[in-house]
Every structure is written in structure tokens, then in C-alpha cells.
């Protein structure tokens, strides 16, 4: 019998294939994990970089939108150094917190802080903060008389020009300021102003003279010149004849306004109606003839002559680079008219037309003309990257 201790079964023989295979798998596993980790880190760096860029542009977008959607009634009501805050969401990408601080009645600081919310808890959170100092342009349109003009001016027929401050029917609730009587007509040469027939001019005084009246009286209005002012127009009607200017609204009472409705100039005779708070800035690029009646309010800018042919009512400011002519009955203007009459043509207010000074309608036209209340960035050094400000040394 052979001794058992010297015997070895085949199954006891040690191999190396398995350890080598395991070792190889471990190495391969480490390599794959390493590669995956690097790729994920790179991916996150890329996303973080992209989100940082998005955050800047989102903050810019929020600030631009805040300026574009400026609410004069909200910000002007703030006390000096008071602020109003709002948050705007931009889809799934993120949100922007806007803080508008009123520093004076014309200077505001818009502070926009964006936060990227896209990407869940791990990838969201990029923020950026930018600011801009903006100024609400000072538009100084203050007609010194019911009619301010140059050259030969005659009030004929039964036409009337009144300098006494008047509040139109139905405007009492908004016309709470002091009354300010003005001259009926202000001219650079009062000797060229007169009446014929039953034409009437009255005011405080009836006719006044201001030798400083010049082209700039009709083209420079505070910060804005004529070109800038016409660029702010919200309604462009070209030149020629317009008939029946009337307010327009839907059955449900929404005012149909804007460039698509060039014959809707608001509803001055019914302030509580659909278009009662619509005060367009209307620009006519040449001669404008209004006939067959109608009503309007706001600011009417005319590059050429303005010819009113009867039964037209307008509340607000009319600035005419040519001359003003009226005929027929029923033309009524409440507010102030500036007629440059640069060519010193003979101009006449005739028929049954009535021009009446109304400081209230002038004020309402200015306050409610949205384009005039739009803020603009200061010309230089208005913009600041508040995030970069914190990181720069």
C-alpha cells in the first residue's frame, strides 16, 4: 500500500488563470471607473460654465424686460430710495429677481439677480447680478397759451380761443390740480394776431407777445428734440385725409388700439369707457386733414399743416410744424396748441372752432403717454456687473 501523504489529487493543483483574470478585471474596472469619473467631471464643468453664461444673459434679459415693461404709476408712487421687487420666471431655465429703487423722480436703479433652476439639485443654482442706472426722460411740453404760434393769425367767424383754464366734462375726478389761466394766443408778434367778425380771443391776457419764440419753441422739449419726440410716437398716420376718428373696442370692452387701429385715438368724451385711458402719441409725417368728425386724445405731432374740417374734438397737446387751419363747425380742442408756422403763412381759426386752454388735459396726455415715461440708461457708466464687482480685486 502506497502512503497517502505522497499522493496529490489533480484537483489540488494550483492554477493562476483565475487570479490573473480577477486582476485583469479589477484593473479594467478601475480604468472604466476612472474614465467615467473624468467624463462626468468634464460634463459638469461644461454644464456649470454654460449655466454661468446663461445666468448672465438671463439677468440681462430680466433687466431689459423690467425696463421695457416699466410701470410709471408703480415706480413714481415710491418714496425716494424706496424700492419695489418682483420675480419673473423664464420657463424651466430660471428666474430673475428685479428690484427697482427710486432715487429721484427721474433716476432709478434696476438691480437684476438671475438664478438658473434648470438641471435639478446638482446642476442648478448658477446666479448672476447686474444693475443699471436709468433716467426717465424729462419731456418739457408746457404750452404757454391756448394757442402758441408765429406770423399772421386770425380768428374768424364764430371761432373762439380761450385762455381760461377749463376742465372738460367728465374729467373732474382726475383734474384735481390748481387751475392756471393763460393767454388766449401767445405770439412772437402780437400785432399780427387779430379777430374778424364774431371771432373771440380771451385769456390772461387775451393776446400775449414773447419775442423769444423761435424754431426751438416748437422743436425742443426738455431733453427731447422734435425728431426724438416723433420717434416715440405710438401711432403713425402718414399724411393726407383721415375721416371719422373714433374709439374702437371689443364687445367685451377691450380697447382696440395701436398701429393696427390708426383711427382709434382714445375716448376723451368718456374717460370711464374702454379707450378712456388710451393716450396715443400720434405722428403725421406731412399735411394732415381731419374731416367728417371724430374724437381723440393724447399728443398729436404734425410735420406739415393741420387742417380741421369740422366736428373734430381733441383733448391734449397738438404740435404743428406748419400752420393750423380750422373751418366748419364743431372743432373743439381742450389743451394746448403749438403751431410753428415756420413759413409765416396766414393761418386762421375759423368757422365754429373752439380752442380752450386746459392744463389738466395737457398733464394727463403727458402722464399717460407710456412712451414718454420710458426709462433710458444713462449715456455712460450706467451699467454695472455686480457679480464681477464682488469677484474682482
Amino acid at each position: 500500500m502506497e502512503p497517502e501523504t505522497n499522493m496529490m489529487r489533480k484537483s489540488d493543483e494550483g492554477g493562476f488563470a483565475l487570479p490573473v483574470a480577477v486582476f485583469a478585471l479589477v484593473i479594467i474596472g478601475i480604468l472604466v471607473t476612472n474614465g467615467f469619473f473624468i467624463a462626468r467631471q468634464e460634463g459638469r464643468v461644461g454644464i456649470a460654465t454654460r449655466n454661468a453664461g446663461f445666468a448672465l444673459y438671463l439677468a440681462e434679459q430680466g433687466m431689459d424686460d423690467a425696463i421695457a415693461n416699466w410701470s410709471p404709476s408703480t415706480v413714481t408712487a415710491l418714496p425716494d430710495w424706496g424700492s419695489v421687487t418682483s420675480t419673473v420666471t423664464y420657463g424651466a431655465l430660471g428666474e430673475v429677481e428685479i428690484e427697482i429703487t427710486k432715487m429721484t423722480n427721474r433716476i432709478y436703479f434696476v438691480d437684476a439677480t438671475s438664478t438658473i433652476t434648470e438641471g435639478g439639485a446638482v446642476l442648478s443654482g448658477a446666479t448672476h447680478r447686474v444693475g443699471q442706472v436709468v433716467r426717465v426722460m424729462n419731456v418739457d411740453i408746457d404750452p404757454p397759451a391756448a394757442l402758441t404760434t408765429r406770423g399772421p393769425t386770425t380768428v374768424k367767424g364764430t371761432a373762439e380761443v380761450h385762455g381760461a383754464d377749463a376742465i372738460p366734462t367728465g374729467w373732474g375726478p382726475v383734474c384735481t390740480g390748481p387751475l392756471e389761466d393763460k393767454p388766449g394766443i401767445m405770439s412772437d408778434d402780437s400785432s399780427q394776431v387779430g379777430t374778424v367778425g364774431q371771432g373771440t380771443i380771451d385769456g390772461s391776457p387775451d393776446v400775449d407777445e414773447d419775442a423769444t419764440i423761435a424754431d426751438s419753441t416748437f422743436t425742443q422739449f426738455g431733453d427731447l428734440d422734435w425728431e426724438e419726440l416723433t420717434q416715440l410716437a405710438t401711432l403713425h398716420v402718414g399724411s393726407g385725409t383721415l375721416n371719422q376718428i373714433e374709439p374702437d373696442s371689443t364687445v367685451s370692452g377691450d380697447c382696440l388700439n395701436g398701429e393696427a387701429y390708426p383711427l382709434n385715438w382714445g375716448n376723451p368724451e368718456n374717460p370711464g369707457a374702454a379707450c378712456g385711458d388710451y393716450f396715443p402719441i400720434i405722428h403725421a409725417s406731412g399735411l394732415l386733414r381731419l374731416q367728417s368728425g371724430g374724437v381723440g386724445q393724447g399728443i398729436l405731432l404734425v410735420d406739415g399743416d393741420l387742417d380741421l374740417r369740422g366736428s373734430f374734438t381733441f383733448y391734449g397737446i397738438i404740435i404743428v410744424q406748419g400752420n393750423l387751419g380750422t373751418q366748419g363747425n364743431g372743432n373743439k380742442i381742450f389743451g394746448g396748441v403749438l403751431a410753428s408756422n415756420a413759413d409765416f403763412d396766414s393761418q386762421s381759426v375759423t368757422g365754429g372752432s373752439v380752442v380752450t386752454n386746459s392744463t389738466c388735459t395737457v398733464t394727463q396726455a403727458l402722464v399717460n403717454s407710456f412712451a414718454l415715461a420710458m426709462p433710458r440708461p444713462l449715456d455712460s457708466r450706467s451699467w454695472v456687473d455686480l457679480t464681477a464687482l464682488e469677484s474682482n480685486e
Binding site: 485583469a24 473624468i38 457708466r381 454695472v384 464687482l389 464682488e390 474682482n392
Partner: protein
């Protein structure tokens, strides 16, 4: 069966095992080596890109705030740019009628004594065209004050502006900025080129080493046309090229570059 009769490994088997083992080890070594090279190259690329991005971020922050109108670009060449870089920001809340001090709302960091500052002078508040920017150096700073509404504020004195301020030129709401003069561009440091920022006292490297022509500035006007007029620069195109000490598969040094265009906002 006697012990000497046990079947053993033949020399052939051992040779086969040795060859196969060497092959497997060789393959693993190659994989490791390739991975190491790839990792090193990717790491170098990543580092290079991150360095360039970080430098560009610094430039973005600085150049966006430049004012073309106020000539913040003091000097410009294809590889160097000297600017007045905006720093601390505040908003004037009131001006003493004697011209000093100015009360300035804090917007982040406080102003410090010695800061060079700009402040907007509206002059006639009814006009825009007469707006100007005044400048001076702060000599006194008091950080214990408040603006209306309780906002933390500083009382600052700018001797160079006292006369102008007393003349009612600066009004509440005017922005005030401190600024520092910097030169951005390529500098030789320790025998190598770096994209760096030079102040009056130091040179801070931002990214490098760079190859020759590692930094290039192209100055464009508002229409995108190349200009040499500092006052007309509305956009600046910046290119940064890097070269790594790591070589790629064909033995060339790894290179990377980034070009971007920055619009001046002020």
C-alpha cells in the same frame, strides 16, 4: 504510483504559460500606459481650457464695463491693453451744499481712502447733453452713515470735486465708481510668456505659459470694423493661445486657443 511518477509541467507547458503570461501582462501594461497618456493629455487639455476660461471670465467682467464715450481704454496694441477698470460702486444719496462730503449708498464693498473715483454730474437736470463725468481721489471715508430709507452709506470727501459739487452739479442718484488702471496682455515672467494683469505695483499671471503671439486683441467699432481709434472701440476680440508641456500621440506639444468678442456696455 511512486511520487516521481506524478505528472508535472513539461518544458513546453511552462514556455506556453510564460509566453501567454508575458502577453497578458504586456497588454495590461499597454492599456495602463495608454490610459496614463490619455489621462495626462486630457488633464492637460482640461486644465488649459479651464485656465483660458477663467482668464476670459476676468476679461469679460473688466471689459464689459468699459465706457467708449469716457475713453476708458488708455492704450491699446495687438497684445497689450491698458484700461481703467471699474471697482467699487455706489449711488450718491445726497450732496452737502458746501461740496463736501458726498453721501454714497453702499452697493457691495465700501469705498476706501485713496480710491480714484468717477461720479456722474448731471448739471442741469432738464438736459441730457450736458451730463459729464467728474473724477478725483477719496481722502476721507466715514462708513457709519445711512441714506434715506436706512441704507448703509458712506460719507466721502473728494477734494478735487468740492468746487464742482458746491455748484450743484451732482444730484442724488448719480452713480459713483472707483477704478484702477490695469494693463492686460502678455508678459515674460521667469523666461516664459504669460497672459497677465499688471497694476502699478504687481504683475499677476492669469494663464500660461503661452506660445509666441499667445494673446491677441483686435479692436472693433460699433459696426464691427477694425479700428485704431481708442474712442471708437465698441467691441474687443480676444484670442488666447496656450501650449502645454505635455505632448500628444505624435509627439507635438498640446496647444489650445479660445477667441471671443466682448462688447463694451458703458
Amino acid at each position: 504510483m511512486s511520487p516521481t511518477d506524478r505528472p508535472g509541467f513539461t518544458i513546453i507547458e511552462l514556455l506556453i504559460v510564460a509566453v501567454l503570461g508575458a502577453f497578458v501582462v504586456g497588454v495590461i501594461y499597454q492599456v495602463l500606459l495608454t490610459n496614463q497618456r490619455t489621462y495626462t493629455m486630457q488633464n492637460a487639455k482640461t486644465q488649459s481650457q479651464q485656465d483660458i476660461r477663467a482668464s476670459m471670465n476676468v476679461l469679460f467682467g473688466e471689459l464689459r464695463e468699459l465706457s467708449m464715450r469716457e475713453a476708458d481704454i488708455l492704450a491699446m496694441t495687438p497684445n497689450r491693453l491698458t484700461i481703467r477698470a471699474g471697482r467699487t460702486f455706489g449711488l450718491v444719496c445726497s450732496v452737502n451744499s458746501s461740496g463736501s462730503p458726498l453721501r454714497v449708498k453702499q452697493m457691495g464693498r465700501w469705498f476706501e481712502v485713496g480710491d480714484s473715483v468717477f461720479v456722474l454730474a448731471e448739471n442741469d437736470t432738464l438736459r441730457v447733453l450736458d451730463d459729464t463725468i467728474l473724477s478725483g481721489v477719496l481722502t476721507v471715508v466715514d462708513t457709519t452713515d445711512t441714506c434715506p430709507g436706512g441704507n448703509p452709506a458712506q460719507l466721502v470727501t473728494v477734494p478735487a470735486l468740492v468746487t464742482a459739487l458746491a455748484a450743484d452739479t451732482v444730484h442724488p442718484g448719480a452713480p459713483m465708481r472707483a477704478y484702477t488702471t490695469y494693463v492686460y496682455g502678455m508678459f515674460a515672467l521667469s523666461g516664459q510668456n504669460f497672459f497677465a494683469r499688471q497694476s502699478s505695483s504687481t504683475i499677476d499671471p492669469l494663464v500660461g505659459p503661452l506660445p509666441e503671439a499667445g494673446v491677441r486683441f483686435v479692436y472693433l467699432d460699433s459696426l464691427g470694423v477694425v479700428t485704431t481709434n481708442r474712442a471708437a472701440v465698441a467691441q474687443i476680440e480676444v484670442t488666447i493661445r496656450t501650449v502645454s508641456e505635455v505632448r500628444n500621440d505624435v509627439g507635438e506639444l498640446l496647444r489650445d486657443s479660445l477667441t471671443t468678442r466682448i462688447h463694451l456696455r458703458n
